[in-house]
């Protein structure tokens, strides 16, 4: 098993014919992902690495049975693309695009909920279930099949951590990049619940960052609902206080959001915290 995606997902890539699209369709096919369609308006009839291109998501879904969308379109067109995919009946949407206005993200995250779909991202590297599928731009070479679940708000930092796990022969069940934006479709809590249910996953690694309260929320959730061992790394422990959204941000946070508060919350939930990203593998080895 794995969480959110496995070998059965049939992927349509929105924004397929751009530089990124062409490259990553090739990478995903090489990883074993079932990429069945691409969408670029006006480019129907073309093929990328043998994958047929359609003018719109609906045609792609009807013709190929795609049930999952990978969104690679530029930020200003991303909302339209996500709505289009959801309306076409896709049940999983992975949004890689960064710099999407957050009002747009807020709308498509709620629309995905309304459509009972899983939305991962935006501003994320995607999701990989080693040995099964990879939907996104994560480098395929770092993964190894196994029992560690990884959920991360970061990109390269995730690769670094996954790579160090693989080097120690600790493979991954699923590695999901949740996204670095304030508004994301799948927060830590949802990933934790999925990993808890997944028989293959024996331990969970969370990669957090300063800002927001996703880690604090996750810590509270772990105390109540998660029995599997959880490990964490938090980036930004020494970063200067970032942008504060007037007084309103401080009111919501009420002292939360700093690395200190996140570490404290995780310690309370008995989550082991790594000092360096590359230490996570040692911790997992020692405690699980």
């Amino acid at each position: 098993m794995a969480i959110f995606v496995d070998e059965k997902n049939k992927v349509v890539v929105q924004g397929a014919t751009g530089h990124q699209g062409v490259f990553h369709i090739g990478e995903m096919l090489g990883f074993g992902t079932k990429v069945v369609a691409g969408v670029t308006p006006g480019k129907a009839g073309q093929e990328i690495h043998g994958v047929p291109i359609f003018n719109n998501a609906n045609d792609a879904v009807v013709e190929t049975g795609a049930d999952t969308s990978l969104v690679l379109v530029p930020a200003r067109f991303a909302k339209d693309a996500v709505f289009e995919a959801l309306d076409a009946g896709v049940k999983t949407v992975v949004v890689i695009t960064e710099n999407i206005p957050f009002h747009d993200a807020m709308e498509f995250v709620h629309y995905a909920k309304y459509k009972d779909a899983v939305l991962i991202g935006p501003n994320c590297p995607g999701i990989a279930s080693p040995g099964k599928t990879k939907i996104g731009i994560l480098p395929g070479s770092i993964f190894l099949e196994g029992n560690v679940g990884v959920a991360s708000r970061s990109g390269t930092l995730t690769y670094e951590i996954v790579n160090s796990l693989s080097e120690k022969k600790m493979g991954q069940s699923t590695c999901v990049g949740l996204g670095g934006d304030p508004i994301i479709g799948t927060p830590f809590i949802d990933a934790l619940d999925a990993f808890e249910k997944d028989k293959e996953t024996k331990a969970v690694v969370l990669v957090g960052e300063i800002g927001g309260t996703a880690e604090e929320d996750a810590a509270e959730h772990i105390i109540e609902h998660i029995d599997k061992p959880v490990f964490a790394f938090i980036a930004g422990r020494t970063a200067p206080p970032g942008k504060r959204m007037g007084h309103a941000g401080a009111i919501i946070a009420r002292g939360k959001g700093t690395a200190k508060s996140k570490i404290k919350a995780f310690e309370k939930a008995d989550v082991k915290i790594a000092q360096f990203p590359t230490d996570i593998a040692d911790l997992v080895e020692k405690y699980s």
Binding site: P101, M106, Y111, Y159, P182, P187, A214, A239, M245, F276
Partner: protein, 368 residues
Amino acid sequence: MKLFEYQGKELFGKYDIAVPNGKLVNSKKDLSGLKFPFVLKAQVPIGGRGKAGGIKVAESLNDAKEKFSQIMGMNIKGFTVQKVYAEEKVEIKKELYLSITLDRTKRMPLIMISGKGGMDIESVPDDKIFKEWVNPLIGIQSFNIRSVISKLKLEREEAKGISKTISRIYKMFREYDCELVEINPLIIRSDGSTMALDSKVVINDDAMFRHSDIVPELVDLTTLEKDAKGKGITFIQLDGDIGVIANGAGLTMATLDALTYFKGAGGVFLDLGGTDDPEKVKQAFELMKKAKPSVIFLNLFGGITKCDTVAKGVQAVISKEGIDCPVITRIKGMNEDAAKDILKDAGLITATTLQDAAQKSSDLAGGK
């Protein structure tokens, strides 16, 4: 992007939210045409200007001229006052607090309102701040407004005015892609009408392409930071002396953390992002040189990014212009061996682990 108070108030005007009569004052000549007493307010993108002496009441023209000279050019928490806004003083019956911001956890706009406006809102207890979340798909509805208004114990006329203000502010929050709209204080006057005495408006940078009417002013950036922003490079200057170049914000932050662990201090945060375009790497390295760090720490993880391509960009800068500080590199991932060879040939120090590199960088910086 943070708007100045006067810019925020201009937007309020568009949405029929009343503000006191006022104008931007560029020189003493502009001080006529307002009724006394009026308030001179320093326009800075940071809170706490009142306490810092950036807000003064003028009783007469001479008084106004004197106070204008005091405020113009003063330094408030590192920002030089370059704009002063003057507005007529108004009588106040009640002071409220109103804001709409983004609740990251619920992923919804959050309206907060309190009868305890005017003061430092962070010291207002939670039970005196009323909150209402709005579903972004259906937008603000009457029930949302009724729900918060009912808790405020307002007179009928007052409630009407505040309700209208909430719905107009929400409209502005959505249409202008705001991260925050805050009015503190939002006042009620003796005739029951409502007026915004201050404005804090932050527009989502990523949505600026939809708001060409707002002229961006990069006021809270240093010269080098502005330069970097123009080139599309994430570059933040910090207090320390070690220049960090890494790829990805998380990895860059983790690198700074590792330095701090070994008693080093980051002076620049430079995130290359997903690029391995040698030209972009070259520009980044040149910017870093201009910041004059005592040590440069290059920490790369190559996933999709190819390490050797980045290394070539670095080599290009160094072979052409040389470098007058030690450069520690730690390279991992795609094509790392080729990258290490290139960097070694360029005379840079290569380290094997993050810890090793962070320690070397910190030691070298401390020894300088």
